[in-house]
Symmetry: C2
Subunit: 151 residues, 2 copies
Amino acid sequence: MDSIDTRILHALQRDSSRPVADLANELGLSASACHRRIKSLEASGIIAGYSARLSRRKMGFNLLVFVEITLRSQERSVLDGFEAAVRAAPDILECHLTSGQADYTLRVVARDMDDYDRIHRDCLAALPDVSSMHTTFALRPIKFWQGYPVR
Amino acid sequence: MDSIDTRILHALQRDSSRPVADLANELGLSASACHRRIKSLEASGIIAGYSARLSRRKMGFNLLVFVEITLRSQERSVLDGFEAAVRAAPDILECHLTSGQADYTLRVVARDMDDYDRIHRDCLAALPDVSSMHTTFALRPIKFWQGYPVR
DNA sequence: AGCTTTGCGCAAGATTGTTGCGCTGATATT
DNA sequence: AATATCAGCGCAACAATCTTGCGCAAAGCT
């Protein structure tokens, strides 16, 4: 992991669709050398995969919501049951066990308030052993996810 | 945007590196038809781009932190100044203006507690007009981001 | 029915990814 | 100091994939 690898990671996080030769010559490297470095980063697992980034707005998801959930108990079986339900719910995009007041922090998107109401009723309120729920709406994106820092 | 487009989006969010021909024949389509659909989704902006997904752990970022920040005032100039500072800070991965107690919610990663201490001092505490800060650590990932739902 | 539009598959050609080979420079070994 | 070993590079050929023009067929419209 030298400074060239770093620059490769930086570039590929931003745009993985451009030809290796392009990237290579931006780095003052031959295409084959660059290609082999990329393959090696993939093999090591640092590059976990490649994805298409979709536009949330163009997809019609106008609402981004963070939901904090506290459970009724901390028994292992309760946590396991809750987590399994979360993983099975397609409307829950992301979930972390967290420190602080709440137990879990979730990320959810919805088309509009009606849609969020549906998700709230059918998905969130259906999760097992929830004691309390705290909802935060994202009003405006200030800075979008653009990958991890790679100095 | 029919059901074929939907399945294309679903597949490309998971893995955008496989040959179009593969995907095409999974969908019972010719490679050229599939290719043209993809290009059209790109042109419409629904597909915003392609990225490499990096492994947070393999990158050495053992800490994932959510930070809620409240500002001293709601004057336009204060908000603007704060937001500009956030955008300029490489350690802040994501930031949203949010409803609720706090004004902003940030996402940050760090290598370890020492590193987080550095970020806290040099980056977060250096943001202008912060009145209060509330930190939440992610203890364990329950569900990872895997793209938007595309029924 | 006739016309237009849309989306398809086929196939050729252009682009990009992939790999064997030999070279060089750095480091280790005697 | 001389030699051996190794990692990483560029070149060039080859393979895989992308891209596009063309003709066809089904669906919508007048």
